[in-house]
């Protein structure tokens, strides 16, 4: 297959993933033949401090977690821009600094709005 680009460095990563999964799966699989297996009802019930579990474990959870996730997306996208920006910073100079901080200032408006609205406040 000539002309096919093979990123040689990534071969090691691919092999690493394969070997890592192999290590995990094989230790668990071999262990199957050695470890004991005596399941009974009480052992297989979800742990709830010794009491029989009451109602659904997958309950409704606080809306705070959603707010954190939304804020995370905003700043994570920013971080992706910042990485590439940091790498070519030397070539761009003052212009890049001003421009990036105008961009960050725009995001910070949202950040402080979230702060004032109590999105970062875990308990009222």
């Amino acid at each position: 297959m000539s002309g096919l680009y093979l990123p040689k460095e990534y071969l090691a990563i691919l092999l690493f993933i394969v070997l890592g999964v192999g290590f995990g799966v094989v230790t668990l699989w071999i262990g199957q033949f050695f470890r004991m297996k005596r399941p009974y009802f009480e052992k297989l019930v979800a742990y709830e401090s010794g009491n029989p579990p009451t109602d659904e474990p997958r309950m409704r959870f606080s809306v705070k977690f959603y707010l954190i996730a939304i804020l995370f997306i905003v700043f994570d996208v920013e971080a992706i821009y910042l990485y590439s920006w940091a790498l070519v910073y030397d070539k761009l100079g003052m212009f890049a600094l001003v421009e990036m901080f105008i961009f960050i200032a725009l995001l910070l408006v949202g950040y402080f709005y979230g702060w004032k609205k109590g999105a970062l406040q875990w308990e009222k």
């Binding site: 009802f41 995370f72 910073y89």
Partner: protein, 322 residues
Amino acid sequence: MQILTIVLQIAILLAIVLLHVAYATYFERKIIGHMQVRLGPMMVGYHGLLQPIADGIKSFFKEDIVPEQADRPLFLFAPVICLVTMLTSLAVIPFAKGWVLADINIGLLFIFAMSSLASYGVILAGWASNSKYTFLGGLRSMAQVISYELPLGLSLVGVMMLSGSLNLTTIVDSQGSSFSSMYLFPQLIGFFVFFVAMLAETNRVPFDLPEAETELVSGYITEYSGMRYALFFMAEYIGMMVMSSIGTICFLGGWNGPFEVPFFPPFWFILKVYGFLFLFIWIRATLPRYRYDQLMALGWKLLLPLALLNIFLTGLFKILVH
């Protein structure tokens, strides 16, 4: 042929790292023991030296309990996801000049990607166990990890600006070999933010809320037992080692030391990583756990602005120097 060489190298690296994981647990128990005026493990072997091996054998033969109402495939595979993502990060870490399995030009980005993927293992474990404690533990862990990923990523932007590269070997080389040229000094704020975020990312004390045993039993690993539990444990310790390596590479000058050690170039690198690991353990023995709202406030209200300030100062500094 080339593939065989790489496989052999990976196997050797895996063996060394897993041995380190085993003895990291031993030293953790020993150091904490001595800090609390106890002896720590003493029974198995001379001063308990064979204790980690005994622990490994024990967890291998322990019964593997899968709760009845658990989501079986996800439950079975979650520990493997955690372990593999942590292990794969090791592929891009240069232990010495040329001692790296995959010298890719986006090394730092690759490590961020892998540490983000590891949180999938955590959240899947919490979800699939179908128990209240694991569910809450997984949820907390995810919120914590994404909150601290931002300061962690942003704290290293300063390093990227100084070195102009994401390749870990280039980052070390650009620091030069003298003590005063380490990025620790120009990036002092960055290092502080990185260090705190590193503790939170690896779920270590004082930020070990996902597995806060006083309130959540054992967090997302409550329902796990035997070897599957051991895989989570390994993943946690390998995560600590990866983060220590990143700290060493980005701030402490990697494998450069006061003098060259003959025959064993990674000597200084390994010494610095041990230093970081000791700090992890020391902090665990010293500090109490944070409350959850304090943890979130610290990440969002202090570390994030500090990291942005650090980027701004680094940019300004570079322009003024030019």
